[in-house]
Symmetry: C2
C-alpha cells in the first residue's frame, strides 16, 4: 500500500496527539484512504522528553528546515505555534510545493493573506481545520457543507478556557480571579492566560470564520475585542436572575450583503438559546445560512486528541488530493466577486445590559433614563433592588436595540453624570 510521508513541526501536546491518533487508528485510516499516513520526521527543540508515544529511531530532529526539505516528507504539519517562526516554516514548505496542515489561528488571522497567496502560486494545499473549534468540523461545514448558502450570522463560543471560567463563575458563584487560578492549576488555562481571557484567541478564530464565510481577508487590527477579565460575579448573578447566561461570543453578522460585523465580547445569551447550554471547556458555533436556517456545531474546542482528530481529517483530505493528482480541490478561502468590508463599529445595532452604581437620590434614575432617551435608546426593563446600606444603589437597565454610536454617546454622558459612581458595566445582549 502506498505510504504518504508526513513531517511534523512541533512535538508538544497536539503533535503527540497526532502521532498517537495516526498510530491508534492506522488500519482504519488506511482502509478509508487507500494509503498509509506515516510520520517520517518530527522537528522539535526538545527531542529527548517522553511524549508517551513510540517513535522510531531517526524520526526526531532539531532541524525543522531539514524536516521540511526531507524528500520522504510529502505533507508538512505546522504545530509550532506563535507567528514569526511558524510563518517561516510554512512558507518554506509551500515554496517547495509541499502541502501544509496548520492549527495556528494566530498565524492565519494575522498573516493569512501572504500564506494563502503563496499556496495558490505554488498550486498546493493549505488546510487549517483545527485552527477553529478543535475537534469540531466547523471549517469543513462552513466552506463545503454550506457552499450554497449566504451566511447571515455566526455566533461562536470559541475559547474553552473562557467558557470553563464562565461556567464555574455561574455554577459555583466564585469570582473571576479564583476560578482563573483553579483553571490554571487544572491545566485548562495557560500560565499566561492573556490570549484567552482577553479575547484575542477568540478574535483570531472569528477572523478565520469571517474570511471563510465572506471570501475576504479580514483586517485583523480593526476587529473589536473585549475579554472576560473584568467580569464580576455580580453581573453573572443579575444575568441569571433575568434568564441569561454570560458567554464570551464571537459575533459575525452580515445583514445587508456588503458590510460584515465582527466583534468579540462577553454577551448575555438567553437561557432558551442552545448556546446557553454549552458549558465547561466545550465550544459551539451557531451558523445561520439563508437556505439552511440555524445550525449548531458542538464539541471539544481544544485538547490533544480532539485537535489531532481534525489535523488527521485534513491530512486525509490532502492525501486524497495527492493520490488523485488534484491539489486545491476547494480553495483555502473562497473568492468573493463582491466587495465586502468590515462594518463600521458605530453603525452596528445592539441591545445592552447596563449596570450602574447610582447615588441614592430621588432624581438619579431620571437622569439616566433621560440620557438614554436623548440618545434614541429605549428601555426594555429596569431592575433596581433595595439599597443594602451601601451608599450606592445598583441599577440594571436592559435596553432595546440602538446603534453603538448612540450607546457610546450615552455612556459618555453617564460617565460624566454626578449621580453615576464606579465603572459602568455594559454587556451586549444577543437574542
Amino acid at each position: 500500500m502506498r505510504e504518504i510521508g508526513i513531517g511534523l513541526l512541533g512535538f508538544g501536546t497536539i503533535g503527540a496527539g497526532v502521532v498517537e491518533g495516526l498510530q491508534k487508528n492506522a488500519d482504519l485510516i488506511a482502509d478509508r484512504l487507500g494509503a498509509k499516513l506515516v510520520v517520517k520526521k518530527i522537528a522539535d527543540l526538545d527531542i529527548t522528553s517522553d511524549r508517551g508515544v513510540k517513535i522510531a529511531d531517526g524520526v526526531l530532529s532539531t532541524d525543522a528546515s531539514a524536516v521540511i526539505a526531507d524528500p520522504e516528507v510529502e505533507i508538512v504539519v505546522e504545530l509550532v505555534g506563535g507567528i514569526s517562526i511558524a510563518k517561516r516554516f510554512v512558507m518554506e514548505a509551500l515554496e517547495l510545493g509541499k502541502p501544509v496542515v496548520t492549527a495556528n489561528k494566530a498565524l492565519l488571522a494575522e498573516e493569512g493573506e501572504e500564506i494563502f497567496i503563496k499556496a495558490a502560486d505554488m498550486n498546493t494545499d493549505i488546510y487549517f481545520g483545527a485552527s477553529v473549534g478543535g475537534g469540531i468540523p466547523i471549517i469543513r461545514g462552513l466552506r463545503e457543507g454550506f457552499s450554497g448558502n449566504r451566511i447571515e450570522s455566526i455566533y461562536g463560543i470559541l475559547n474553552g478556557t473562557c467558557n470553563y471560567i464562565l461556567t464555574k463563575m455561574e455554577s459555583e458563584g466564585l469570582p473571576f480571579d479564583v476560578v482563573l487560578k483553579e483553571a490554571m492549576e487544572k491545566g485548562y488555562a495557560e500560565a499566561d492566560p492573556t490570549l484567552d481571557i482577553d479575547g484575542y484567541d477568540t478574535a483570531h478564530k472569528a477572523v478565520i470564520l469571517a474570511s471563510l464565510a465572506y471570501g475576504f481577508i479580514m483586517p485583523w487590527d480593526d476587529v473589536k475585542v473585549e475579554g472576560i477579565r473584568n467580569l464580576s460575579q455580580q453581573d453573572v448573578q443579575y444575568a441569571d436572575s433575568l434568564g441569561y447566561k454570560i458567554k464570551l461570543l464571537a459575533v459575525i453578522k452580515n445583514l445587508d450583503d456588503t458590510d460584515v460585523e465582527v466583534q468579540v465580547r462577553p454577551a448575555l445569551v438567553s437561557n432558551d438559546h442552545l448556546l446557553a447550554a454549552v458549558n465547561d471547556v466545550f465550544n459551539a458555533i451557531m451558523v445561520r445560512g439563508n437556505l439552511v436556517g440555524d445550525t449548531l456545531f458542538y464539541g471539544r474546542g481544544a485538547g490533544k486528541l480532539p485537535t489531532a482528530s481534525t489535523v488527521i481529517g485534513d491530512l486525509v483530505d490532502i492525501a486524497r488530493n495527492m493520490l488523485a493528482g488534484t491539489p486545491r480541490m476547494s480553495p483555502a478561502v473562497p473568492v468573493s466577486s463582491k466587495a465586502v468590508t468590515l462594518k463600521d463599529h458605530s453603525k452596528i445595532s445592539a441591545r445592552y445590559y447596563v449596570r450602574l452604581a447610582l447615588n441614592d437620590e430621588p432624581d438619579s434614575l431620571a437622569t439616566i433614563t433621560k440620557i438614554l432617551a436623548d440618545n434614541n435608546i429605549s428601555i426594555a426593563s429596569v431592575l433596581q433592588q433595595e439599597n443594602d446600606a451601601s451608599s450606592y444603589v445598583p441599577v440594571v437597565v436592559i435596553t432595546h436595540s440602538a446603534t453603538e454610536a448612540d450607546f457610546d454617546a450615552a455612556f459618555g454622558e453617564m460617565d460624566a453624570a454626578d449621580c453615576v459612581n464606579d465603572e459602568i458595566v455594559k454587556l451586549r445582549i444577543e437574542d
Copy 2:
C-alpha cells in the same frame, strides 16, 4: 464562465427549493465554485402547477428518462422519492456515467448496495448528503471530518415530525393522537404518517449513518425499530418527574470493534444531555469518536430550503470533481477491511424504564422485584404513587444495565404474572 447542467427528477417541495436556492445564491455559488450550476431540465408528472420559481420555456418535461439522457444534463438530482421508480432513474443516470445527487433515504437504506456498486463500476459520483439530517452537514462531517476516528457511538434525533409531536406532548400535556392531528394540519406530518411515527424513516437514516461509520452495508431488515405511536402522556409525565425527556432515538454503538448495535426506539434522555434540549422539528446527531470525543450537529432536518442547502452543497462537490476531472474523491461509503456485523439484539445491554399496572395487593411489588432479580436485573429506583381509587397501582421501575435477553425473559414472566395488568411499558434509558 463554464456552465454545469443539472437535470432535476421530481419537482415537489424540495425540487422547487433546489431551483430557488440555485437562483437566489447564483452569484455567490459561481464565485465559490468558479462555474455556474444551471438547471437545464426538470422532470415531473405535473408540469403545470406553479411552484413559485421562474422556469424557462422548455425546461419542464414529463419524460424523466429523456431528462437523464439529455446531453446538456451533466449531473442528475433524484428527488422523486419512493424506491422502485427512483432506483430505476438513479441506475439509468449512473449507467450513463452521470453523477447523481439523491436525498432518498429509503432508497439508499434498502437498495443502497446495488447503487453504490454501480457508481463504483461506472467511476462516477453518488452523493446523498440530504438523506440524513436535512440541512445538517452530518454525512460530510462523519465521512470526511472524522475520517481519523473510530466511531464509538451515534445518537440521532432524525425525524422532525416525531420530535415535534414529542415536544408538544411534553410541553402541552396533550395525548399523542391530538398532537398528531395538529401536526398533520400544520403540515409537519404527512397525510400517511406511518413512515415517520413508526420509526422507519429514522431507521433508514440510521442504516445510512452506520454504513458510513463502519464501512459495511447494513442489513436493513434486521434493524430493530419501534416508533412513538403507543407512547402515552402518562409516561411523558413520569419521565419528566424523573428528570428525563422522551425522544425517538436512533442509537448506533460500536463498543467492541466488530459488532455494531443499531436500534430505533423512543428512549428516556436525561435533562442535562444536550439532546434533551433539541425541540420541535429540529434534528440533532451526537457522534462520539475515539479521538474527537463527543460532538453534536444540530439544525433543521427537513423542509424545502434546508434540504436544498445540502443538495446544493453536494452539487458543488460533484462539480468540483468534474472540473478537476477526478470523480470519486471520497468513496460513497468507506471500505472496511475488518468484518463488521450487526450485533445480536439479545446481547445488547441497556437500562430500562418499566411501567406496570399492578394489583393493589401486598405481594405484587415483591413478585416483580423477584422476577427482575431472577433474571439478573438490578433495580435503580422504584416510583409507586398512591392508588387513586382505580383497582391497579401504577409502578415505575428504573433498572440498572442488563442484557436485552434478560429483559426479554423478565418481561415474559411479568406478562404472565397474575398481579400484572394491561400492557407493560418498556422504554430504554440512554444516559
